[in-house]
Symmetry: C2
Subunit: 408 residues, 2 copies
Amino acid sequence: MTATDIARHAPSLPLAGRAKDLVGSMIDSSTSLLAAQTHDIVRFAMGSPADEAVPSEEFREIAGTILDASSFTYGATEGEPRLLELLVKYLAGTPDPSSEDRLVITTGGMQGLDLACKLFIDPGDLVVVESPTYTNGSATALSYGAQLLEVPVDDEGMRVDMMQDLVAHHHRPPKAIYTIPTFQNPSGVTMSLERRKALLELAHRWGSVIIDDDPYGLLRFSGQDIPTFQTLSPQDPLLFSVRTFSKILAPGWRVGWVDADPSIRQLLINGKQAMDTCTNVPNQHIVAEYIARGGLDDHLASIRVLYRERKDAMLDSIARHLGDRVTTTNPEGGFFLWLTLAGEFGEIDTRELFEVALADGVAFIPGPALSPGGRFRNALRLCFASSTPERIDEGIKRLAGSLEKMVA
Amino acid sequence: MTATDIARHAPSLPLAGRAKDLVGSMIDSSTSLLAAQTHDIVRFAMGSPADEAVPSEEFREIAGTILDASSFTYGATEGEPRLLELLVKYLAGTPDPSSEDRLVITTGGMQGLDLACKLFIDPGDLVVVESPTYTNGSATALSYGAQLLEVPVDDEGMRVDMMQDLVAHHHRPPKAIYTIPTFQNPSGVTMSLERRKALLELAHRWGSVIIDDDPYGLLRFSGQDIPTFQTLSPQDPLLFSVRTFSKILAPGWRVGWVDADPSIRQLLINGKQAMDTCTNVPNQHIVAEYIARGGLDDHLASIRVLYRERKDAMLDSIARHLGDRVTTTNPEGGFFLWLTLAGEFGEIDTRELFEVALADGVAFIPGPALSPGGRFRNALRLCFASSTPERIDEGIKRLAGSLEKMVA
């Protein structure tokens, strides 16, 4: 049932106009859907870190040691002072150094996107998104009344070269450009240096905010780093950077941050106060303690190795079980690869495949759920991060079986 | 600096129209403000439970025992199944029983208010609020473009008898009526049964949503329970109930819930997905385990005693140090009482008093920060819950000293 249907079925309620635009996200909803299944399922759907990639033992030990009364009260809206201090110190060693006057701790990266829209998006504003994109992010823009413009992605990331023409049809510049430049969700591709420069130039010309959503940038396992937007255009007031500990530590914490121009920090704090007062305090304390102990760099080094093995394993399994009946991207980091059906599978709708495959014990996200306009019916997103190589092989085998069943 | 000022000072940024309405909240900002002070301050400002009223030891022990990989991954947007199940069971023994098809776990009660506004408030909609009110809640409505209408509060709660006339001036019914009916924040008063019935009748006539924000209802320490809106009008689709563990367990968890008509549950889930994906998972697990162990009722019984002592202590101290130069409410539960300056203090602006008193070592929230229109310059909110009777006496003594200094 779509949001519009629901809005129609709740006629006794004076819903806001935007209720019909609360489209939700299959990405998020798959958590409940999969939890409700009782049979064995290989899970390529959610973008969750591997259990093995989460230092659960250490987290539990820290929680059992450091939590005290100060962890259970209200925290400052902008974030716990110790976490902010440690974060600044940590970021100094990354491509995106920052300072406390630019940072606000958020309830996961998702709240960073909510804040970006709260501050910048008026109803009817044009917002450029990648196609395919992280539709939870685009759903947030929709919930603020944005009109979305999908710009295709290829192996060098968003087709910035096409953006100008596509925008011209709308007779107004975009208010914001939403991009996941590095190890993009869902395609796994990374935007090239040339495209990044071109995007910055267009954003400056148009006065558009760049919402730079980068949950995976620290998870490069092959190839060379490409300069970030912050490196290319330091202190750029049009740059709004959304970051999170969800992929590098654990999503359950719901601890992320935004990095934005100091002139809007107070507005960010005001906006966050109207959302959830403060990000949950015990988890900020635990994340801070984890960073303070100095293990984050080693942890990142080890999970990069793990994820490279898994990406390789998935591509091997795909080659073995699906051969040239599909094409894929070949990510240099992150969690996802993008698979497009070809040959005898080329006419299959991956939304129908989803039902068959779920029954057969393998889950993924169908392409149309990753495009606001429902494009990519013959493609799908696979998360290689959450499963062991053995399970990956089992899952791809099941997927191949489902596909063969559908063309039989 | 107001939000409008900030919006004016960030001219290079294409802020949304609503940016000027992101007014923030002195209630929340006082956390940072007070943390930055280095001298001893008696804290009557924040609505925080007493440290002694939070089972910190048990929370830490639970965290150190039960957290595992399942706590650190994404959770279902509607909430962790075990917490939902235990919550339904727990609510069965309260005045507001519920069922899973009506409940969504939220990131504190605050996110419940954000969701209510997301689903119901269009820009320009009239929203009734109590005067004084919890201005963080009214700030959320403002952030969605609401036009606020303040309806006075007296010892029987919102002056529902005045609401109809006040609404008539606006030539349209309110889209929503925002009320904290029990142990109201900030006044501490409780809406009478007659007023509750009258409010329900008006809401039904107008088709207005009642946003029933009740964080304190389980904290009655004297007097008789008054039937809740849910008791008076069960399964009412116009009733949107916002609840939280913040005051009965601990605010740092950021775990609350909304109870609403099942027809809009999917819209709530969609809306929450666009906000923060899911409420932080480890804290949901810890709260669930705490409830499962069966200690919540005993805990509530013991903190009711604690808070009654503190309320009595504060009224005693006020009588002793301030006598008839002030009047106060006399709450039967919750965290707050409302103090109005009279006699020789009657002309003092509590915003100015705030600065003097802060320097003198006592903090509160000035009346104008608790009214969207800045009313109540000669009143203030005192939280009696967070301090011991000895500290309460010291704080009221300091407050009396500051007041005497100002009229000297």
